[in-house]
């Protein structure tokens, strides 16, 4: 049995056409699953879980963006959610009654991504020539600052509407076709949650594609080189600051993109969605799944959206049943899980659940001596 499996898995020349056919078959199955997923989940668990799925896709996009910064280039960004916020507020301000501006989706979304990219460059330029720990602190501070501004820019001129946030944001729409309401296509009824799922899936696949392409390129090699040994990289002619800035800006762009989608999906944004918790959660996804490995990051994203959602539903009931009262509220439990996950993974499985082959070797082996 095992031998048969081995033979099956080993690629040899004669077997190559079969292999190819097999790959196509797997691809087709995956595509069908992904297409049918919202309907299956809707039928099995209810509409709420389709929305959870939509959020999972948004967070996967965020995690993949952060993965470029942390996983590829080895830079720790603790305020990543700030770029998410920039994208979301850009969309919210330019597509809501707040200013009475209603720009179309296909303009606002890239604009938000661009703005986030710009913020990334502004923040990265002064800090990226310094040691990595400074970047961690500065980004942490930046995340807080953005929130302070969002919270307070409601007076004397009301820009962000303060802690109440901005509501009645335009739904994502192309001309007359809006994702905000149920649509009928070819006789099939697509509820809003399903429509968003497909849109987000397209963007997620795009981000995955870009991530994979970047990783295996001249740029990706330069990122890996500075992560491995910044001094040697610079002595080989890599402009380390620019190449780090590039990673930072790419990550920020993806964050801004996800932010715009988030605003259009929720129809409402407030500073509360962009706190340190969210930054940490995204970092957790990257670390849990496996820094630098796209597959691992996707896995991490799914796990960390679904597990807390499950605990939210189950933890309360379980505690009620077992102890007769709620000792730990689900929110605390979630945070506790994140914190412990970060510690335990670094101590015991530093390369994550599904590491890239390269990062695994690197994180498990001791660092090269610094002298």
């Amino acid at each position: 049995m095992r031998n048969a499996l081995k033979r099956f898995l080993i690629i040899d020349k004669r077997n190559a056409p079969n292999q190819k056919r097999l790959a196509w078959a797997a691809f087709a199955v995956l595509a069908i699953i992904l297409l049918a997923l919202p309907f299956a989940i809707d039928g099995l668990f209810g509409r709420g879980w389709v929305r959870v799925l939509d959020f999972a896709l948004l967070y996967i996009m965020l995690a993949l963006g952060l993965n470029i910064v942390v996983g590829y280039a080895g830079l720790l960004d603790l305020g990543y959610v700030a770029f998410f916020a920039v994208g979301a507020y850009c969309y919210a301000l330019l597509g809501s009654p707040q200013f009475g501006i209603h720009l179309p989706f296909w303009i606002v979304l890239p604009l938000g991504a661009l703005l986030a990219c710009l913020f990334g460059i502004l923040l990265g330029a002064p800090t990226l020539r310094l040691r990595g720990d400074y970047l961690a602190i500065v980004t942490l501070g930046f995340g807080e600052i953005i929130r302070i501004f969002l919270n307070n820019l409601n007076a004397p001129i009301n820009i962000t509407n303060g802690p109440q946030g901005i509501s009645m944001i335009d739904s994502i729409h192309l001309g007359e076709f809006s994702l905000g309401r149920t649509q009928e296509i070819f006789g099939i009824t697509f509820p809003a949650a399903h429509l968003h799922y497909y849109l987000f899936l397209i963007f997620t696949l795009l981000v995955i594609f870009v991530s994979l392409r970047l990783q295996d390129s001249r740029i990706g090699r330069a990122w890996a080189a500075i992560r491995e040994d910044e001094i040697a990289a610079s002595a080989m002619g890599i402009n380390t600051r620019n190449i780090k800035l590039l990673a930072f800006a790419m990550g920020a762009t993806f964050g801004g993109l996800a932010g715009g989608l988030f605003a259009g999906f929720q129809g409402f944004v407030s500073p509360e969605s962009f706190g340190l918790t969210e930054s940490i959660m995204i970092l957790c996804m990257v670390v849990l799944g496996g820094m630098g490995n796209v597959g691992g990051v996707v896995l991490g994203g799914i796990l960390l959206v679904v597990i807390p959602e499950l605990t939210r539903h189950l933890a309360g009931t379980a505690q009620q049943a077992l102890l007769g009262k709620t000792v730990i509220d689900p929110e605390s439990l979630r945070m506790l899980m994140f914190g412990l996950a970060l510690i335990l993974i670094m101590l015991w499985r530093p390369a994550g659940l599904w590491p890239s082959s390269q990062r695994r070797r690197e994180l498990i082996a001791p660092a090269p001596p610094s002298v």
Binding site: G74, G132, D133, I137, G141, I148, A155, L336, M346, L363
Partner: protein
């Protein structure tokens, strides 16, 4: 004029708290080259423990001085144990790991500590009991309260003590040796592991005191107080030159002054556009400015990485 003086006094008080916390960052950084992200949470835990002890003892009719002493001792002990275990559990196993690893565990630690504190002490703001009379001294139109005088005095004494410890004692010599060159220190018979532990313990003790001082000054304790405080104290350490004890003290005081003067005048400066709730952003801009113009800080020397 009196507003100006008042802001200076407030700044010095706030600054001396920053200094004490910054010392913790700087000591650990000097010895390990590591930013102990969870340091701010130790300050918070220190304040929380003191709060609980005071609440517990106040009803029992002990004299104020005794209550204060006990709460100070207990919160220092808790923090010292915490600092010690933190290093043992989360940092020591990763000493030879890539840089990113201890940074990530440190973040994890501070999340865990925050959450535990929230579960234990709740989400609400606690008012920190008034330990002294509300008496105050008036100087040229400005007011300085008794608590503030005590804060500044304690801070000065602690910092002086620390300087003496580091520069005049055997232990201090060992600490400096480990910071300079761990392998050479080991050759000279210094046990660098215990020196590192002691550094964490000392820093945590200072953090406990700082936690109590800041709570006494503002009269408020909250489970999230450590995060922002930590960020600011770290800024202070960078401003002074990270790794440099005097730098941390100077940086703390300066940051306190910048903040309080900034908050006092931000309205005028921005033509009324920005109000004093932007106080918290000053530290951040100071941090960015220092990193751009003088990354080695005011008193730090440029340390080139060895190639």
């Amino acid at each position: 004029m009196d507003i100006f003086l008042q802001q200076i006094i407030n700044g010095l008080v706030q600054g001396s708290v920053y200094s004490m916390v910054a010392l913790g960052y700087t000591m650990v950084y000097g010895i390990l080259g590591l930013i102990n992200f969870a340091h701010g949470e130790i300050v918070m835990i220190g304040a929380m423990v003191a709060l609980s002890v005071i609440q517990l003892l106040t009803g029992a009719g002990f004299p104020i001085f005794f209550i204060l002493l006990i709460s100070l001792m207990l919160s220092m002990i808790v923090c010292m144990i915490l600092g010690y275990s933190m290093e043992r559990i989360a940092y020591r196993p990763l000493r030879n790991a890539p840089r990113l690893a201890p940074l990530i565990t440190a973040i994890g630690l501070s999340i865990v500590l925050q959450t535990l504190a929230m579960m234990f002490w709740g989400r609400e703001y606690h008012s920190f009991p008034l330990l002294f009379t509300n008496d105050s001294v008036h100087i040229a139109g400005a007011v300085i309260t008794e608590v503030q005088i005590i804060i500044i005095t304690v801070a000065l004494v602690m910092m002086g003590g620390l300087l003496i410890l580091v520069h005049r004692t055997r232990l201090g010599r060992a600490m400096r040796a480990v910071a300079e060159n761990p392998s050479a220190a080991a050759l000279m018979g210094v046990n660098s592991n215990s020196v590192i532990s002691i550094t964490f313990v000392l820093g945590s003790a200072l953090a406990a005191i700082a936690g109590i001082m800041i709570s006494a000054n503002y009269g408020i304790v909250h489970y999230l107080m450590g995060a922002l405080l930590g960020l600011k104290a770290f800024t202070a350490a960078v401003l002074g030159g990270i790794g440099n004890l005097r730098g941390a003290m100077l940086g703390g005081l300066l940051l306190g002054l910048i903040e309080s003067l900034g908050a006092g005048y931000i309205g005028d400066l921005s033509g009324g556009f920005l109000g004093s709730h932007y106080q918290d952003v000053f530290a951040f801009f100071v941090l960015i400015a220092v990193l751009i113009f003088r990354p080695s800080g005011l008193l730090g020397e440029r340390v080139a990485e060895r190639a």
